[in-house]
């Protein structure tokens, strides 16, 4: 960023919930500082610039693009490519762009089964003519095209070259600010790094007292009242904290809710869900296979438990295509 020129910033949302936008607004009074430091060239939720304005920009005109949301449709992908072209630095901002996040759980289905349920089978749907969205529809005036809905949710890095990753669902405001400061000061680490998160896991920030673990029974959060002093995992509630990067301030365990793993896996861990699964199973208090099987079978939804945020970024990425949920090949 040259001299006293303002940072040219763009923010985009692909398949997302809008929470990352709220997270930016959570900067509160620092937004005024941001306004002094940066010119926001594109931010659909807040200002009225259009796609064609971006297309008209010179390549690499934008200094930093904070791209949140997963790649669900051809429009999302198109914008990913567009922003890569028009930005010096492309940041996968938030868990959706980084890992797929909640939209990524649709990877247990495909387009057909999603549409069948949403437009035809859902109990609250009234669609006697069985109208389903089509990519192209002919009307008297001509052709209407809508973006294609992909079978598989992808992460930003799976369709484009990404410079930095800011994890979190959403990234916490203090972390967002530290990333902006690093951008402004020019102190970002090597390309491809995760920024705005710690090297250690959530346990490092967590208030609980932790001990050796021996779990005889797994409980879901509504099934017991945990004591508020000891680690939830020690008490049989699966907490993703040990397998999740810290930096969020362990906000969830602070209020006695187990960590869900939204800040992505620890550095160097190849697959967050597999790492968490391994730890959870290893401390099951069983000395026979039958007993072990009985205890782990209480975990009713392994993918939902271990891959809640990171399914598209995992080793397998999605369930077997071409099969209905429950079918195997």
């Amino acid at each position: 960023m040259a001299g006293d020129q303002k940072l040219k910033l763009a923010l985009y949302w692909a398949a997302s919930c809008g929470g990352c936008e709220i997270a930016v607004v959570e900067l509160r009074e620092k937004l005024l500082v941001l306004d002094q430091l940066a010119d926001i060239l594109f931010w659909p939720v807040a200002i009225d610039t259009k796609y064609k304005d971006v297309e008209a920009m010179a390549d690499q005109h934008i200094d930093v693009c904070l791209f949140n949301g997963a790649i669900r449709t051809s429009e999302n992908e198109h914008m990913a490519h567009l922003f890569r072209k028009k930005s010096k630095v492309l940041v996968a901002f938030g868990s959706c762009a980084h890992e797929g996040c909640i939209p990524g759980l649709a990877n247990l289905n495909d387009r057909q089964s999603v549409f069948d349920y949403v437009y035809l089978e859902s109990p609250s749907v009234d669609n006697p003519d069985r109208v389903v969205p089509q990519p192209m529809t002919q009307i008297p005036e001509g052709e209407i095209n809508i973006p294609k809905f992909y079978n598989t949710v992808k992460t930003l890095a799976q369709v484009e070259d990404v410079d930095y990753f800011v994890p979190g669902c959403p990234p916490q405001a203090p972390q967002i600010w530290s990333v902006i400061e690093a951008i402004v000061a020019g102190t970002l680490p090597a390309k491809g790094s995760v920024v705005g998160a710690n090297e250690k896991t959530v346990c490092d920030e967590c208030k609980y007292e932790r001990n050796e673990k021996k779990v005889k029974k797994f409980y879901r959060i509504h099934e017991i009242l945990p004591d508020r002093v000891h680690c939830l995992f020690d008490q049989g509630i699966i907490c993703a904290g040990p397998a999740t990067r810290g930096g969020c301030g362990a906000l969830c365990t602070k209020v006695d809710i187990p960590c869900r793993g939204c800040y992505s896996g620890a550095p160097h861990v190849v697959d967050q869900g597999a790492a968490l699964l391994s730890a959870v199973a290893s401390v099951v208090d069983a000395d026979t296979e039958e007993e072990a099987r009985r205890i782990v079978s209480e975990i009713s939804d392994p993918i939902g438990t271990f891959y809640r945020f990171g399914l598209p970024n995992s080793l397998l990425r999605r369930s077997r295509l071409g099969k209905q949920q429950g079918e195997k090949s």
Binding site: N151, A274, A281, D287, A292, R293, V296, D301, R320, K323
Partner: protein, 146 residues
């Protein structure tokens, strides 16, 4: 490929002291086994992370085997195999949710003295996976959206 017939690619994670020894002995004794099974040696099945199994499928394996010393008393490291029998049922459940047939994942125990059992497992499992057809997870990853 053999006359265009599908040849399964199977990765087996074996513990050094028991099943790896059995597989080695089976080889030395020229017991009949197919070339479809590739062995990766670890010191103890307790070393086997669920991640390895998923990685194998993700890289194109059609089947995966995990085998080590019989519990409760045979583990060279006392109870590494206890951690294995705690982890593997959960891996089975996970693979099922991913839509991978249980016939593609076998885990069990073969001691160093049971070389014929290894050869038999290699033969039977290869045929079992052959009947299920190629898994070819990589092409699912690589597919461009239509």
């Amino acid at each position: 490929m053999n006359n265009g017939e599908f040849e399964p690619r199977i990765i087996a994670f074996l513990c050094n002291w028991c099943t790896y020894t059995a597989a080695d002995a089976a080889g030395v004794a020229r017991m009949e086994q197919p070339a479809n099974v590739d062995v990766i040696r670890v010191m103890c099945t307790g070393r086997i992370e669920p991640m390895f199994i998923l990685k194998a499928f993700a890289e194109g394996a059609d089947g995966v085997i995990v085998s080590g010393c019989h519990p409760p008393g045979d583990c060279h490291y006392n109870n590494g195999n206890f951690k294995t029998f705690r982890r593997m049922p959960l891996v089975e459940a996970l693979l099922g949710q991913f839509g991978i047939d249980e016939g593609r994942f076998h885990w069990g125990w073969i001691s160093g003295a049971e070389a014929p059992l290894w050869a038999q497992l290699a033969r039977n499992f290869t045929e079992q996976v052959r009947a299920l057809g190629p898994l070819d997870w990589k092409s699912q990853k690589a597919s461009k959206e239509d």
